[in-house]
């Protein structure tokens, strides 16, 4: 229950790419300052912890995120527009509607759902000078700034490569698809939406030394029998138990 509380603020699509278990994300970002000691308490499991975080392009499980959300640091509240269905995925071709790259098209590189942001590869960039001092002019680093999905980018219709508003509709097979409102053409979700840091697609995943092989995972070795787990293990190990436990009381 508490796992969902902290994770409900992190969007599904912004953590999919990292391929990390939710448990770890929670453990990495959580800041508990005080916990109720165990024992008889009038309010058990009470915690004093950070409730609001500032989400930026730094991912919640990184050290940079922790640095930005140091204990005790309070930042101005950010208002994020509620969205019904998330419609932007990794690898989508989008058109930038604002800024110096207005009208240009690019591909979505990263999704930051908790701020309604996407990062478009090579567009809406800014330059930062790093390591400048008296003797050294510094190094210029180019990096993309995030764009709001609500009014700063638009999906591109694959039939005429022009930006279009979209809506979610169902096909006759019952599949939910994005449809261009202008031409009625389906905008397919790109294959790279499935990509994570560990694999490009599930089929091309490279097995690691400690992984169980896929065939072994799906092999059925269970056959139902009227016995408990303990009974079946005792039988397979040849342990015989004929002692009768004395009467006990539960209260």
């Amino acid at each position: 229950m508490r796992l969902t509380q902290i994770l409900s603020v992190i969007g599904k699509y912004s953590k999919d790419y990292s391929n990390l278990p939710d448990r770890y994300i929670k453990r990495a970002m959580e800041q508990v300052y005080w916990k109720n000691p165990t024992g008889v308490q009038y309010r058990p499991d009470t915690e004093i912890k950070r409730k609001t975080y500032r989400f930026t392009t730094n991912r919640p499980w990184t050290a940079q995120f922790r640095q930005q959300n140091l204990p005790g640091r309070r930042t101005k509240k950010v208002f994020v527009e509620p969205i019904k269905d998330w419609s932007y995925f990794r690898g989508d071709r989008v058109e930038v509607l604002v800024g110096r790259d207005k009208g240009k098209q690019g591909f979505v590189k990263q999704i930051i759902q908790e701020r309604n942001w996407v990062i478009v590869e090579g567009l809406n960039c800014h330059y930062r000078v790093v390591g400048r001092d008296q003797n050294y002019p510094g190094m210029v680093i180019k990096s993309e700034a995030p764009l709001l999905v609500t009014n700063q980018v638009a999906l591109v219709d694959p039939s005429d490569f022009k930006s279009t508003p979209i809506e979610w509709r169902f096909t006759e097979d019952g599949q939910k698809v994005r449809v261009s409102s202008r031409t009625g053409r389906i905008i397919p979700i790109p294959a790279s939406a499935e990509e994570t840091v560990d694999y490009k697609s599930k089929k091309t995943y490279n097995e690691q030394p400690k992984d169980t092989l896929a065939d072994d995972v799906i092999a059925i070795t269970f056959s139902p029998k009227l016995e408990t787990f303990e009974m079946s293990i005792m039988e397979s190990m040849g342990i015989k138990e004929d002692r009768v436990p004395p009467k006990s009381y539960w209260y």
Partner: protein, 237 residues
């Protein structure tokens, strides 16, 4: 020496459908493979899902449990050692993956045992629990324990420990204030949500109202729209 070889050849190893680490049987089993020492990350797959574990026989689950337990021991040792040596423990999410698998495995074992007990006895065979009032007069889940020999009415120590129940004016005062606190907390949350919706309406007057309703089901949006707080810095048309 020859006899030893003969014994070794005749050992029938059980056929495993689950991958296992090389057997070393020494203290180094508590440590990771030397190739993984001091690296940036160690790549691993995901944890076992409940639906996959349901396919496995009891003895497979039993073996897998100990594989996972050994892996967890190894990871916790490595984490401790890395902290001692002031180096970064690579891929700490491995611990969570193993623990998640162990939780799922236990869930499957419980499921099977519950099914057996329900069929045979009509009870689920789990540790009994009941909802009672605690010493502060608040509801809580009491997990029962097993006692050999003595029944409840004869167990003086247990009765003495359980005997305290707040009552009378103290309890009434406490509960009144406790309920007031809960009420005020809920009221504040409601007001906070309302103010937040007003702030959203002010900033995004053209937003999707259905999405807003979905996110804040308890807020009266029509009321929020008419609120002074949701008026933007523009002349209304």
């Amino acid at each position: 020496m020859k006899a030893f070889h003969i014994i070794k050849e005749h050992i029938i190893l059980p056929r495993r459908s689950i991958s296992v680490t090389a057997q070393r049987n020494d203290l180094m089993e508590f440590f990771d493979d030397k190739n993984n020492w001091g690296v940036q990350e160690v790549k691993t797959g995901r944890s076992w899902k409940v639906e996959e574990l349901r396919l496995k026989s009891n003895s497979d689950l039993h073996k897998l449990w100990y594989i996972l337990l050994k892996e967890k021991n190894m990871l916790l040792t490595m984490e401790h050692e890395c902290n001692e040596k002031m180096i970064i423990f690579p891929s700490p999410e491995r611990i969570d993956k193993v623990e998640e698998s162990m939780e799922n495995l236990e869930a499957v074992v419980r499921e099977r045992n519950k099914a057996y007990h329900l069929l045979e006895t009509g009870e689920n065979g789990e540790r009994p629990e009941k909802i009672t009032n605690n010493a502060f007069g608040l509801q809580h889940v009491y997990k029962e324990s097993e006692y050999a020999i003595i029944p409840k009415h004869m167990n003086e120590e247990w009765l003495r420990k359980d005997s305290y129940r707040a009552s009378g004016k103290d309890l009434r005062d406490f509960l009144l204030k406790y309920k007031e606190k809960v009420f005020v907390e809920n009221k504040k949350k409601k007001q906070r949500d309302f103010n937040h919706v007003c702030g959203l309406l002010k900033r995004f007057p053209n937003m999707d109202m259905e999405a807003l309703k979905e996110q804040y089901p308890d807020v009266d949006i029509e009321k929020a729209k008419n609120s002074k707080r949701s008026r933007g810095h523009f002349v209304p048309a």
